[in-house]
Subunit: 805 residues, 2 copies
């Protein structure tokens, strides 16, 4: 948690060429974090062992991707202002390992399994996916039903109160009641997030994007997070914030998937002894993809959109079987949700209204579009892109402000309450000032508020605020022309835009999808009304159609998703015809928006300094080679290594590497030898814990054999090295790494260009990539941060700094 960022410049790379190690430089950086961490630095830690095999040139960037569990979990004394720089890359994020470690244990297990046994594994995968789908659907149902009932209750109370005071005056009591109700509900939602599980804040989509990208975001797929997320989103929506419940479904699905696929809960200390084969990053990540897809599917009734979301955000290697399983989970999820909701709503087995939000069917025979309208759709895309960019820019400054000044949980709760109160007040004032009365129709409005309207009419602004945002979107899409007063729409758009922008990033669980759609639908309908007015009510100028296009353009302008969003919109409207115009609007919005500022999710990922890998290396990075990109020197281990050396290396706070190349044993410790394999910190820790070593004198003795199960049981929370006691005698023992190391790590020569290294790294989901010279000797190691550091800025290639943020 150090607040010092070190800029690593090109020229600075070779600076420390003669110094023994960079330990002296980086240790104070780590210790300087604050009193909370300083006490834990083991003062009795031995000096770096002189026998460490360090190969390659020395630099001051030998901090590998590592997360100090201890440091991040201990609450530290937070300074009142945190300086923050967007051009940073945090070192606290660990990488997932999508590449199987094919060591001897693994190969032996795989070779023992007969090919019929693989069918059992395959069937288990399908069963897990079905369970993911069912549970995600159930959670979505739960959220939907609870929100519907609580919100209904709240609105009835407020409505009765307003109705009461409308006649006898004193509406300010109603305002007070409304604001207080909302604030207290939001307070509850904010408290559980801020104090119990901060990672449950927001929509969770950036976190899931990171996870699928291969970044291990701490706590993101824990059971506790799921519980807080579900309760939090219910409270935020009921609290009347400008939020949606759809984004959090994606996070919920991902947590469910991670939990089920492991067959145990570490938090609840329950191990069901099933699905042990899947206890590794590779398998877990595949299931999390399925969970995220099931979440999208449940939220929007869009199974294909869900699959494409998972692929667009996560998968780098397309695998047919995996995709098919993801699709299965998505389908099951929609199906479960539909079945239960159809029962709940009293039309059992009417399975045709999918998703938490259903945009309603657009009847394409009535509402086609013509060639002439295409420029109009493109223009709407431009508007959406510009409005989205403004939204994101405002939110960016707000987030910077929040990172700097509002980082105490209690401040965060107070801000959330403030937003809730302001939202209620703004709504109330606008309802009060509005004179937009519409005739009351049968079933059109759930909570019609008469206020100052004539009998048989209702206040249409009140409907916009009293309805859940989902219902408002559908009304904007489908209500017949003339249902909305342009003035009402304009005011509503303006206020809701700022409220939604202020709300995103609060310490509450909430999504930005629905607010974006609502803003877009509002201005889109306004645009449609104007168009209808200009063309004297031409038949094609249907406001509902333009509301749909506006919603797509606005959402595209904010989140900048493309393929999956088009499909989600297509599926949620149940209409294939509008695919082309929606795609055009989304694409234009993305191009225009990208010109100004990044997408909302990417922006937040960047503000968190996450080492996120994009799809391709920056186009101009061919000038860089692996030699310039890699981290060096690399701490190597010998194939038969002294236990003391291993313990020292693992305890060395200055270079918390996670992967160690294994080289051929050689009597002369300074001589560098060819690469033989790669071993992970987590594996070494398990080996040390199980005391897998023999005395130096008895090298011929066979050391204790471990099974893959021992590694899987420890996954994913490996203990820190400090918790493992190694006696002085044991330090003298030797450990044979041969059967535990991965004997065929992927390598690149030093001359390989950055795009080439990037492609290999990304396509295979690697965590460590060894750089070797012409004689297969280790010269460096490429990790996620070394690649994520390069970015295409306005003036060409930029390099981010690394810091212990």
């Amino acid at each position: 948690m150090a607040n010092v960022a070190k800029k690593v410049s090109w020229s600075g790379r070779d600076r420390d060429d003669d110094e023994p190690a960079a330990a002296g430089e980086t240790t104070p950086l780590l210790n300087g974090a604050g009193p909370g961490t300083a006490g834990r630095t083991p003062s009795s830690r031995p000096a770096p062992h002189p026998a460490f095999l360090r190969v390659g040139q020395l630099t001051n960037v030998d901090l590998d991707d590592d997360i100090r569990e201890l440091e991040t979990e201990t609450p530290t004394q937070v300074p009142s202002e945190i300086p923050h720089n967007e051009k940073l890359l945090s070192l606290k994020y660990e990488s997932l390992d999508y590449d199987n470690c094919e060591n001897q244990l693994f190969l032996e297990e795989e070779r023992r399994i007969h090919h019929t046994a693989f069918r059992t594994v395959e069937i288990k995968r399908w069963v897990i996916c079905a369970m993911i789908g069912i549970l995600t659907g159930l959670v979505a149902c739960f959220i939907d039903i609870v929100v519907e009932n609580l919100a209904g209750l709240k609105f009835r109370v407020v409505k009765d109160n307003i109705d009461k005071f409308t006649e006898k005056g004193g509406l300010s009591f109603s305002l007070l009641l409304w604001a207080t109700l909302n604030s207290s509900v939001v307070m509850a939602g904010s408290i559980i997030v801020a104090f119990i599980e901060p990672v449950a804040a927001g929509s969770g989509i950036p976190q899931i994007k990171c996870y699928l990208n291969g970044v291990k975001v701490p706590h993101v797929v824990r059971l506790k997070t799921l519980v807080i997320k579900v309760c939090g989103v219910i409270l935020s929506v009921v609290g009347g914030l400008a939020v949606g419940k759809e984004g959090p479904m994606i996070h919920s699905g991902a947590v469910i998937a991670a939990g089920i696929s492991q067959g145990r809960s570490t938090s609840l200390k329950r191990d069901f002894k099933i699905f042990e084969y899947f206890r590794r990053d590779t398998e877990k990540r595949d299931f999390v993809s399925a969970g995220a897809a099931a979440g999208v599917s449940a939220a929007f009734g869009a199974p294909v959109g869900g699959v494409l979301f998972s692929l667009e955000e996560g998968a780098s290697f397309w695998n047919q079987f995996l995709t098919w399983r993801i699709f299965f989970a998505s389908m099951i999820s929609t199906f479960t949700l539909n079945s239960i909701l159809s029962f709940y709503h009293g039309n059992p087995w009417d399975l045709s209204s999918p998703g938490l939000i259903n945009f309603g069917r657009f009847d394409s025979e009535k509402l086609g579009y013509t060639f002439q309208e295409i420029p109009i759709f493109i223009f709407m895309g431009v508007v959406g892109g510009i409005l989205g960019a403004i939204f994101n820019a405002l939110n960016y400054w707000l987030t910077m402000f929040r990172i700097r000044y509002i980082h105490r949980p209690c401040l965060q709760v107070i801000e959330a309450m403030l937003v809730a109160a302001v939202t209620a007040s703004v709504g109330f004032v606008m309802i009060y000032c509005s004179r937009d009365c519409q005739p009351l129709q049968e079933d059109a409005v759930t909570y019609p508020l008469q206020l100052f309207c004539a009998d048989g009419e209702y206040n249409s602004m009140a409907t916009a605020f009293f309805n859940t945002p989902e219902k408002s979107v559908v009304s904007l899409f489908h209500n017949p022309p003339g249902s909305y007063n342009p003035m009402t729409l304009g005011m509503f758009t303006l206020m809701y835009f700022f409220l939604a922008c202020w709300t995103y990033g609060l310490t509450v669980s909430a999504g930005v999808f629905i607010p974006s759609l609502l803003i877009g639908a509002a201005w889109g309908r306004l645009f449609g009304i104007s168009l209808s007015y200009l063309t004297s009510g031409a038949i094609w100028a249907d406001p509902g159609k333009y509301a749909l296009m506006g919603a797509a353009a606005q959402l595209g302008g904010i989140v900048r998703m493309t393929l999956s969003l088009t499909v989600i919109m297509m599926e949620a409207t149940g209409n294939v015809t509008y695919g082309f115009p929606i795609m055009l609007a989304l694409m234009t919005a993305k191009i225009v928006g990208d010109y100004f500022v990044e997408g909302l999710y990417d922006m937040h990922i960047q503000l968190q300094s996450v080492p996120f890998l994009h799809w391709e290396a920056p186009v101009t990075s061919h000038s860089l080679t692996a030699r310039e990109v890699m981290s060096a020197p690399v701490t190597c281990l010998r194939r038969i290594e002294k236990v003391g050396t291993i313990v020292d290396i693992l305890s060395d706070m200055s270079s918390n590497h996670n992967g160690f190349p294994v080289v051929e044993s050689s009597p002369d410790t300074t001589q560098v030898a060819g690469l033989r394999g790669l071993i992970l910190r987590s594996q070494l820790i398990v080996l040390l814990k199980h005391k897998v070593f023999v005395e130096r004198a008895n090298l011929s003795l066979v050391q204790r054999r471990l099974k893959l199960k021992d590694f899987r049981d420890a996954y994913p929370r490996f203990p820190p090295i400090q918790s493992i006691h190694v006696s002085q005698d044991e330090r003298q023992c030797m450990m044979d790494l041969t059967e535990f190391m991965n004997p065929s790590p992927y390598t690149v020569p030093q001359e390989a260009s950055l795009p080439r290294v990037f492609k290999l790294f990304r396509a295979l989901g690697l965590r460590h990539l060894v750089v070797v010279d012409n004689h297969n000797e280790v010269v460096g190691l490429v990790t996620r941060k070394d690649l994520a550091r390069y970015r295409l800025g306005k003036e060409g290639l930029e390099e981010l700094s690394l810091a212990q943020t």
Copy 2:
């Protein structure tokens, strides 16, 4: 074209350890093909140069992936029976190179380009995709309109004739007229395919699958193929065969994409000097994916299905930008087709009926499904799977028979004519025998045939044969209950099943999608009628819904596509609700069908002995390592190599490698040295053609510089080595390969397991993967065939033989 297959067994691998090279064994194998090839073997070819650097152990499998352009293009004297074995892998298929060769020339070019210039490249890519979409849409329109008119004309002639003879007797004249008409049209279609471009036969989907998989199928993306394909499919459909015009659209789209993206036509000898940057396999394959997607999109009005088809069949590395471009091309394609067809049909700008085939909208409010029906859908999936397996098994034996006995073009034409005549006769007899009269409704039938029915009625069997198959499918889906007599349906299903099975694999351009759908829709409707009868006409037992499920199940049982097919069916019916049951039916059909026999496309790919790489290595192949899989010995080149040696290696008919590892020059030629790079046969040929070498005495002189343009101009039809004249003096010169070779080829250690090698190979789309030992010395080379050779059979891992089929 040798007819000798050599089984390479495990034990046989080390047999020739002491022989200098396998040339003596394999040369007769190549020369024995026939007089057409024997004359071209250069008799003056020098014996294998003793100075060839050959590393690794010797085996008799040193035939690399290569296609002898000369051999495959010369018509050889075909024996009357060709023995064929499905457990073969042909050596005649070359591999595409999806990995960029990052040599110095390439890096220099990339480094010279400023990052704004990359935007131009990106814009060009989008423009090309738009053009692909537009042209594919236009071709689809052309096919649709021509087929509609010609078929209409033909049916009018036949109908008038039948109407004339119905009253006065002598219907056998009508039969004769019908059969003759059909036969002659099919003859024309078959002749152009058999004599001009045999690769245009069939649906083209297996060929495109292979191309996207990375196999270079000769002539598959040439302009000539496109012309023949389009004419051929029109003639087959008009000729009344049991075929569809949708499959060939996918092939057409792919050819269009390959043509446009290269900015030139080699066949027409026109070079537009544009898009030169895209003249390499990597870029071309990306565009071909877009073309295939655009084809699917045009055929079924399913842009998302098109994208998923391309991804399911081709892409191994998922790239967001690429996918987005593919989607764009698909959208444009559907849009173009819709616009033009809407004009043609007289409802300009009604863009809501997409695709060549439109299944019509299923109104989900009227026709939902209930939970209880799900077991029924699964049962239909089982039936579809079994029927599909029977279809495929019958077609398998038929294809084996065809490969053995019907390989002369004239025989193929005669068979096609026979099938056309039989189809017409069967149709006629069934119409004649049928007594199924239905009341004539307004607009329900395009060509109602009264035959022996009462006035105001029409013969419903005649409709099934007189309509185009597309219209029959839609009628089966949507006609109200009671429109079809169960007996008629049963007979029709049975006859059409065998006709379609006989037709697939004929030497005509035609697809199997529509016949499969028609068979499935027919038995599905029959099933629905029975169900309605059993349940005494329950409201949910709508025959149309079951026709849809039957169609999905039957198509799934035959082609075994899953994800993309579900989405295509969803998009073509414009209904998201049926997604879940369609998926269940398809999945069941696939599982049941796979139990018996492979999918139709995979079967044909296997019968062609194509080295097709599946998604994953066989699950039980962890017992194999790179050492056992690789080809050895490898012919290596030195970094500075003698021209004579290079010419000899390239001319060596016994080992037509395409990639040569480059090792460090060393004075002692027998000493093996570390890997420095990899150079391709095509690059060496260009170098030799441009005489890029210096005299031995003047090594200090700078050799002639080539530009990337020289390589791109020669792409993709590199001349054979025989066409390049190298004088005796020139043979003594030296060639410096440093700046042309790829200096960072991907490598694996010998211990890597087959799944690991497979994953690397597949994820990066490699063509050559160098196997190195611990000192980075070359020990072997893994190519596509080495990996495709292993297959999971019924009893575990199987190994296919390699042959020059």
